[in-house]
Symmetry: C2
Subunit: 112 residues, 2 copies
């Protein structure tokens, strides 16, 4: 059984977080997880159905290793949740600043 390695909060790096969120797909995954206010499976959290499973799996691995999400296995699915509190503790204001500005960056979503 695959058990996931998550970095401790203190081991989360700024470079890791930024490079993880620099990919639009991963940024949308994080936004989706937060909007759904909790856990989603990998496929449910995918922002685009045409992405290959292996690619998606890789994106989740990057997010996990960057410390952005927590993954736990529940039955056949994986449950993913954003480690919002950990990120906030490590880099105060960072995640919110990025997510708030992701609205004005992504054309499909209307600016509030």
């Amino acid at each position: 059984m695959v058990q996931f390695v998550h970095p401790a909060t203190k081991d989360i790096t700024l470079a890791g977080v930024l490079s993880a969120l620099a990919d639009p797909i991963r940024l949308q995954i994080v936004r989706g997880l937060l909007q759904e206010s909790g856990c989603l499976s990998c496929t449910a959290a995918s922002p685009c159905p045409t992405i290959a499973k292996s690619t998606l799996s890789n994106h989740f691995r990057v997010l996990r290793e960057a410390g952005l999400i927590q993954t736990s296995k529940k039955g056949v699915e994986h449950q993913n949740a954003v480690r919002a509190a950990d990120i906030e503790a490590r880099f105060p204001g960072l995640l919110m600043a990025i997510l708030a500005n992701s609205l004005s960056d992504a054309p499909p979503v209307a600016v509030g």
Copy 2:
């Protein structure tokens, strides 16, 4: 003569900014430029003397194309300045959130 292409403020993308700053060297370049409160040449802004010229040139190109810095030619040197106001206008709070947290991430530089 090489003339530099800088994106308009509205064309600056979040992904571009994040991926540019996800590299520790580029992040340190931006921090250095801001600390020096103005313009620096490429070599003067280099955080590490062992980086190859070509690599450094590439980092500056990435920062320029991401809209993070403005480069102008002055004699034999290039003058680089952070487009802080443009970034702030495009993504309010983003650059400050990243730079503020870069202090807790990068041990070598003292907090100002």
